[in-house]
Symmetry: C2
Subunit: 189 residues, 2 copies
DNA sequence: GCCAGTGATGGGACTTGGTCTCATCGACAC
DNA sequence: GTGTCGATGAGACCAAGTCCCATCACTGGC
């Protein structure tokens, strides 16, 4: 028999989401989260650098995206590489079993400025990672930056649709379509 | 003779920038900032909701941008409206006398994650404001979102160039050129 | 000239996030 | 058994941020 219950960080994250939903982010204390998971404040901060971070992915989406771009066919143009990367994300991260969780999490994020702020920073890091991966493919910096911006926009659109309860399509195909729409809209400009 | 020294928030902001440059953001306490400005912690938090905000504009850049877009000629296409708005910003906000201050401020922002995070959120709000102003012109949502992303990219590029000590060109013309480059890069995609 | 109201500031108690250091304690090796 | 290791707990400590009340110079009415 294990000395401790397994997966402390996972229990902390689950407890946090529950409590944030029930009482709001501001009205939930780190100590309460820890107690709810049968742990203490000390252990909380051992796994998460701060209170916000408990809602952000332990896995590294950033790396997944970068790898997706890197492993796109050599002939693929920038936006196709981005589409491949988003598709890969849909297969390994935004999987169907994570959809409900993502929706709950996003609903909490939308209620609090501190959390929106953290999310904004994550997205910037994400974009930076895409830009780096694209330039590694020999794409000029400016082109890479434009492609990354458009890719992030497609991500946002696809994610909102994917979260939507009335939609049963996978993230990957939603993203591909969104990117196509974005490209078309950009062409008119 | 005035009872108190004038412009408390201005003095606080100046003291903060000085101290952040000298000792770093993390190693500077709100109390130190306040004392340096001949005030107290209480007064600091009366003017700024938190420590980060002391480095962010009291004036509303967001509104300036939105107004700039709204007052663009009716015939202007989305990106032209954005260009006009950035140009207006260069005339009213990113003026030459503010260039040195902006550079110092940006250097501090770049040293600290907490500050980068706040900046990221401000940019999202900025983009949202652009999108709203563009849709008010009758531009379809998706087109507006693409234009806003490209506009933000032009902003970033122009700002970096404007800050650069070796460059003496005004923000407005830098932004126009950047936006043209971005548009050209987007057309290839 | 006095008095009440006003507005910017100060003072200090209090909560919470976050850091740090040391103690605990079961598993496991030897 | 004894000692090491690894995950956890305990508690002191600091700084950010909130709140409420005191101060005190100025102002206007009387």
């Amino acid at each position: 028999m294990a000395r401790w219950q397994p997966d402390a960080p996972g229990r902390l994250a689950a407890a946090a989401l529950d409590l944030f939903e029930e009482h709001g982010y501001d009205n939930t204390t780190v100590i309460e989260i820890a107690e709810h998971a049968g742990l203490t404040k000390s252990t909380f901060f051992r796994y998460f650098p701060d209170k916000r971070e408990v809602l952000f992915d332990r896995g590294t989406v950033t790396d997944l995206l970068a790898e997706g771009i890197a492993s796109a066919p050599p002939a693929a143009d920038p936006l196709d590489a981005v589409a491949d990367a988003l598709d890969a994300l849909g297969r390994t991260f935004f999987t169907d079993d994570r959809r409900e969780f993502s929706g709950r999490r996003q609903a909490v994020l939308n209620t609090n400025t501190e959390l929106r702020e953290r999310e904004a920073l994550k997205r910037i890091d994400l974009a930076a990672s895409m830009i780096e991966a694209l330039t590694r493919r020999g794409i000029p910096t400016l082109t890479a930056r434009v492609a990354a911006k458009l890719g992030m926009l497609a991500w946002e659109i696809a994610f909102d649709q994917w979260i939507d309860t009335h939609n049963r399509e996978g993230f990957g195909s939603l993203a591909r379509r969104a990117l196509g729409d974005v490209r078309a809209a950009g062409a008119v400009l």
